[in-house]
Amino acid sequence: MGEFKMKNEKIILGIETSCDETAVAIVKNGTEILSDVVASQIESHKRFGGVVPEIASRHHVEQMTMVLEEAVEEANVEWKDIDAIAVTEGPGLVGALLVGVNAAKALAFAKKKPLVGVQHIAGHIYANRFEQEFTFPLLALIVSGGHTELVLMKEHGEFELLGETLDDAAGEAYDKVARMLELPYPGGPEVDRLAALGKETIDFPRAWLDEGSYDFSFSGLKSAVINKIHNAKQRGETLKKEDIAASFQASVIEVLTTKTLRAAKEKNVKQVIVAGGVAANRGLRTEMQVQFDEAGIPLLIPPLNLCTDNAAMIAAAGTIAFEQGKRDGLDLNANPSLELI
């Protein structure tokens, strides 16, 4: 006996290969995960200190059908009950995206299913819908290795960009600081771990930018950290790695939290969600929770496994797009710089 499908239910198969995770998931109604399989490549990129695009693409093509098979078996659904194939079309690494897009097209063709291209960041936002139904207007803070954005949503599938990073993404700053501190890859979680052990002994800058701006900037902070480490070295001083991490993280978190809170109040939102890989950061989660509890605004942060790249979130965002009538043709291509709006 497979999963029993009701008449109005939508079951979507999602595929995600924008970076270094080969992922396939099957989701019911955009809110219930039937299967969520992720083949991570972290181990193969570790020795290079970062994701190597060509190697990521090679792994994707080797993993794809296996991950597909596992996801379909685990979901225990019949093909006739799957309504559409959703796939990340961008942004991301072009060679990596191409594997997912071409697999999705072949699958849609072979199984005669509609094809729906999904924007990756929309996916991150929709990862939250597995936790709780959205109430609009809502504000989403997307923080990852490639993104730092504040997005206002007045209804499903509609995105308004309030602010974004003018230079580095928050996650990128984390990676660079981790490299300066000679931490193992991936660096972000390591910085977070060390920060919890250290004290904010160094007063690093906060980039507030123009008054009222919802944009972000992390390159100044990154340079300040680099200079601090450099100068200390020259003077023969030793700084505790834990304290550098704590001080750096305090700056990032204060800026992210303050701007998000201000936007939430100004736009009178009913819900705030945090999405993207950096949403897994414990320091950020804790501080956000404290601030938003105090302000009395409901905050939603997905569990750790849904913060990082996965295909359930692509299927979830794809469900809305599918319901709103979005269809893509067999000429769908990967778009490495696809914007949310």
Binding site: V52, S57, G95, L98, V99, L330
Partner: protein, 235 residues
């Protein structure tokens, strides 16, 4: 047996539908255009034109490289996913072997090759013996001059087949002179039906483990291995 043939491993985009060893239809272009955008629409169009439903396919044949990394992945991802979704066998064929079918009636060595940059080529040596294709030198990524010298030592005529023939004509003539045979344009590109024919000579591959045959490590990996070696030798 209905076979769908897919080749996007180099500039040529080739799709063919065959009934055993008979070609029912094919689409082939030799353009610098996006394979990712055009492959599935080409398959769709050809299936419609020959009036075949996707469920009537019995086997998928695909060029597994060498060639353009991205191109090979587009073809293989599409072919593997189709085979898995339809529950039909898949057969991967060397892109060089498929090209060597253009020398089916040549008496001597057939040397298909693709430019791999920096003086290197992806090449192998093939030979047709009483209608059977043999492969005396396996596909490899190598300096072309080395292969040419070996071929010269054999003293037999050699048919060179390559979409990149123009850039290597001089080098070939210098080394092999009268032994070298270089035909006209159309012989230098792979006919998808030839790939289909080659696929009929072998057993299916495992859908999950069939992988591109790049013949070359990713650059980052090669550099990493080199560094490891240096570290070791420096003690």
């Amino acid at each position: 047996m209905n076979v769908l043939v897919i080749d996007t491993s180099n500039h040529v985009l080739g799709v063919a539908i065959m009934k055993n060893d008979q070609v029912i239809g094919q689409i082939m272009t030799n353009l610098t255009k996006n394979h990712s955008v055009r492959l599935m629409p080409a398959i769709n169009q050809l299936m419609a034109e020959v009036g075949m439903d996707v469920e009537e396919l019995d086997q998928i044949a695909v060029a597994k490289g060498p060639g353009s990394y991205t191109g090979v992945r587009i073809g293989l991802t599409t072919a593997k996913t189709l085979a898995w979704a339809l529950g039909v066998p898949i057969v991967g064929v060397s892109s060089l072997e498929a090209l060597s079918y253009q020398g089916r009636f040549f008496d001597g060595f057939v040397c298909p090759f693709f430019d791999a940059r920096r003086g290197l080529v992806y090449t192998g040596v093939y030979e047709w013996k009483s209608g059977q294709l043999t492969n005396p030198v396996q596909d490899q990524n190598t300096l072309f001059v080395n292969v040419l010298k070996d071929l010269q030592a054999e003293g037999k005529p050699v048919l060179f087949l390559s979409p990149d023939i123009a850039s290597f004509k001089e080098l070939i003539m210098e080394t092999l002179g009268d032994l070298a045979v270089m035909p006209e344009g159309p012989y230098h590109i792979t006919n998808p039906a030839h790939l289909g024919l080659a696929s009929l000579t072998r057993n299916p591959d495992n859908i999950h483990t069939l992988a591109p045959n790049y013949l070359r490590l990713a650059e980052a990996e090669a550099n990493w291995l080199k560094n490891q070696k240096e570290k070791k030798s420096n003690g």
